[in-house]
Symmetry: C2
Subunit: 147 residues, 2 copies
Amino acid sequence: MLEPFSDEYFMKQALNEAQKAFDMGEIPVGAVVVCQNRIVARSHNLTETLNDVTAHAEMQAITAAANMLGGKYLIDCTLYVTLEPCLMCAGALGWSQIGRVVYGADDEKKGFQKNAEKALHPKTTLLGGIMEAECSTLVKDFFSSKR
Amino acid sequence: MLEPFSDEYFMKQALNEAQKAFDMGEIPVGAVVVCQNRIVARSHNLTETLNDVTAHAEMQAITAAANMLGGKYLIDCTLYVTLEPCLMCAGALGWSQIGRVVYGADDEKKGFQKNAEKALHPKTTLLGGIMEAECSTLVKDFFSSKR
């Protein structure tokens, strides 16, 4: 059993979201936003369903969390996302001044760290590699099934 | 009179959008998306109104244009925006594979070119400085009025 409120615990929730994306034929990325051990937003990639390149899991999670909390800054929140954020999402996370970002698998091609290391707010802490195997397997399985 | 369908003509439309943002107390940035000389989306910054850091003019314009055109790629479109896009918006424009981006004033601090020059799609052409004076004056007037 996963220890409640651990990084793995919340990443598992993000993975559940990614699985929903997978089941819809979307590239399987999921995210949750956590504030004081409470999940305040859950989302998964919807770019195909919504015909909208901006509908990444993280973007929806930021919007939903701000709505839920009633303010646009997420200073006391942590975003858990199964894949390293892209430039767009990292830029959005930067504007949100989110306290912490935890991701699962690296994204060698589109991850923000290769292209704009300083995209996040200087006070945001970043941790990668949580449940990396599960997160990357889901993406690999998705692309294998499309071939 | 502005020559119809020139870059200045469409930038003036983006400036009209920026003025709407100004009048609402939003940082005055406006955008239009043009496809075959037709404006398919108009938008302005709504981050304060919507309490949402992702509600930049460009993000809304991308979503609205994709909705209007029925597809998420904007290969045959041009985005006109009064201020150089930030990292988030440039990342989104990259995903959209938009054909051309035309902006007014440079954004020395938050513009994408300083932080991630390669954010746009390799096939996207970029032009800055169209109606630069009008675009930057509006932003300067906004911040002066807030002091």
